[in-house]
């Protein structure tokens, strides 16, 4: 019987010839990521296991993203303690303020995730790594500490669900729209709990790495264990010069077993939007057009990449953001920031009246940089919209693609980018 790509990776990395869904395996991990507000606890737990040195200093990746730049003294102090502990363990790859980015972006962009391997991180959107043909998995600090000590993590082999994406991407329709569409179809934390989601088909072959990252990123919000796109030429080209190690192509067998398969034809997919409070309350944009809002936000591990900033610039070039809208744009990493600066995107956005902030999670988790206050209506290209997520419980958050945010910010109301005069 054939195996899915996720089963193959779990078999390879646990030294077995095959695995079946439901089996429990200890796999070797490629990289373990932890970040500012949980990292210190990770290292403390690691030490309490009786080890002094991590399993591989090059493969424990430390990132400052949630708390930087520190918005208050409490976080400044936490960051200082975090820096101490990273230094103490002589970690090779420390992406601190100045070299920072959102951890999931860093992990893929800096080549810490390799196709055919397993990487874990102490933040829920570690599913993003699936874009590089890897198993990316979110864990708690205990699992991370154990992996830091042993280079291993336990997994139950998940059963698989396939999404076969056909047809062609329509203008101004992005991976985010597909994610939100699937969210509406399958429900937030609904039927896909514990599953591995595999994306394939012509609609995936033609999708950029940035798009694949968006798609895999939000599989955690579907409740899935991981989302994955098998490596192909796009992956290879992207990893050229980035990959921190050798890797090989890997794919699901023809006769791999899927619990369920769905086909989605992109010719029917338009811009999609999640209404406030529930991620799976998604509608085609037609149903939300004209809705007024006062804050626009583009950034996060879902949509803060160069491609996202490029589409903002394309739509907003030579235009002015509506006077009733404040817009904040936060590149996902310093690399993205610099690339967007060099490409002139940031200049275009600043000329249009957007505020650009230094890479971080920003207001996504309601911690800093443009948090929502009472009565705010936010149009966000982020990933979560539950009450209070970005700050006030009395704010509303609509989630959509960067293209929709761009066109809407100009008009001051939710606007379909396809009918927008560029």
């Amino acid at each position: 019987m054939g195996m899915t790509i996720t089963e193959k990776i779990m078999a390879n990395q646990s030294g077995r010839s095959s695995v079946k869904p439901g089996e429990l395996v200890w796999v070797d991990v490629q990289s373990v990521m932890t970040m500012d507000y949980l990292g210190k606890t990770c290292f403390e737990k690691f030490k309490s296991l009786g080890k002094t040195e991590v399993f591989d200093k090059d493969r424990v990746i430390c990132v400052s993203d949630h708390l930087v730049p520190p918005p208050n003294q409490k976080f400044a102090t936490m960051l200082n303690e975090w820096r101490e502990v990273v230094k103490e363990h002589d970690i090779t790859h420390f992406y601190d303020l100045g070299r920072q980015g959102i951890a999931h972006q860093i992990m893929v962009e800096q080549g810490h995730v390799l196709p055919g391997t397993v990487s874990i991180g102490t933040d829920s959107h570690a599913n993003t790594y699936g874009a590089a043909g890897a198993i990316g998995n979110a864990v708690g600090v205990t699992d991370a500490a154990v992996a830091m000590a042993t280079g291993k993590a336990w997994f139950r082999v998940p059963s698989a669900v396939k999404f076969h994406i056909t047809g062609e991407w329509q203008p101004f329709v992005m991976a985010k729209d597909l994610s939100l569409h699937i969210m509406g179809m399958m429900h937030w934390n609904g039927h896909l709990i514990y599953k591995t989601l595999e994306f394939d088909g012509p609609g995936i072959t033609s999708l950029s790495m940035a798009g694949r990252m968006t798609l895999c990123n939000m599989t955690v919000d579907l409740g899935a264990k991981n989302g994955i796109v098998a490596p192909d030429e796009t992956t290879k080209a992207y990893l050229e010069g980035r990959a921190k190690g050798d890797w090989e192509m890997i794919a699901s067998d023809e006769d791999a077993v899927y619990e369920q398969s769905y086909e989605i034809n992109l010719s029917n997919l338009g811009p999609t939007i999640a209404l406030p409070d529930k991620l799976d309350d998604t509608v085609p944009i037609e149903k939300a057009i004209g809705k007024k809002f006062n804050k626009a936000f583009v950034g996060t591990c879902t949509n803060g990449r160069l491609e996202d900033l490029e589409i903002l610039a394309r739509i907003m070039k030579g235009k002015q953001i509506h006077r009733d809208v404040n817009m904040i744009v936060v590149p996902a990493s310093q690399t993205v920031y610099l690339d967007a600066l060099r490409a002139g995107y940031l200049e275009t956005l600043i000329m249009a009246g957007a505020a650009i902030d230094t890479p971080s999670c920003a207001a996504c988790a309601g911690i800093h940089t443009g948090v929502a206050g009472d009565g705010d209506i936010v149009l966000s290209a982020g990933n979560r919209n539950m009450k209070g997520r970005m700050g006030s419980k009395n704010a509303q958050i609509y989630l959509t693609s960067p293209a929709v945010v761009a066109a809407s910010a100009i008009r001051g109301e939710i606007t379909d980018p396809r009918t927008f005069d560029i």
């Binding site: 429990l24 200890w26 507000y37 949980l38 606890t41 737990k45 309490s48 296991l49 009786g50 080890k51 409490k74 976080f75 936490m78 102490t122 933040d123 829920s124 959107h125 979110a138 864990v139 708690g140 600090v141 205990t142 699992d143 500490a145 154990v146 000590a149 042993t150 291993k152 336990w154 139950r156 934390n189 609904g190 709990i193 514990y194 955690v220 919000d221 409740g223 264990k225 309601g366 979560r384 539950m386 209070g388």
Partner: protein
């Protein structure tokens, strides 16, 4: 055999309501985390020790208990600190399911448990057979027995102890 009172939750009790945002960046500590556990789930629990003081031993929940995609272990530590010995639900969110296994707090899946229990009912749970008896109503429920690995970790008092012991003995982790 574990015996005690249960609290019946709704579907979709979210991890980030079990431990609210203010406490995400505090230390993971059973005693500490238990003081404000469930603060965001119900108004009645939004004061210090409110949930803990009710003395529940079990939680009975529906679909996707502790969901919403937060990986923080404060959730499990807080529940344990509040005296919760087992959580029954029709399904669990995977991140906290994993954390619960790692802490040795049984998260037990039981198909119909959410339909026939009320808050305050006295339950009796037999971890060996998986049987859950509602002593107040006389009804019984089946549950899935824990996988051998999960049981081993539970017996060790959590993954940290399990792995620490293996490291100390120089044993391979498999």
């Amino acid at each position: 055999m574990i015996k005690g009172k249960c609290w019946v939750a709704d579907d979709y009790v979210m991890a980030y309501n079990i431990i609210i945002q203010e406490y995400w960046t505090t230390a993971i500590d059973k005693e500490d985390n238990s003081r404000w556990v469930m603060a965001g789930v119900h108004e009645d629990f939004n004061s210090e020790n409110a949930f803990k003081d009710r003395g529940y031993t079990f939680i009975v929940a529906g679909h996707n208990f502790a969901g919403g995609g937060k990986s923080i272990e404060h959730v499990i530590a807080g529940l344990m600190g509040a005296g919760i010995k087992t959580v029954f639900a029709t399904s669990f969110a995977r991140l906290q399911f994993r954390n619960a296994i790692n802490y040795g707090l049984p998260f037990v899946t039981s198909k119909d448990i959410d339909k026939d229990c009320s808050t305050g009912d006295e339950l009796e749970y037999n971890p060996q057979t998986g049987e859950i008896k509602n002593l107040t109503t006389g009804k019984s429920f089946d549950s899935l027995p824990a996988a051998p690995f999960v049981a081993k970790v539970g017996q060790a008092g959590g993954l940290m102890n399990y792995v620490r012991d293996k490291i100390a003995k120089g044993e391979a982790i498999t």
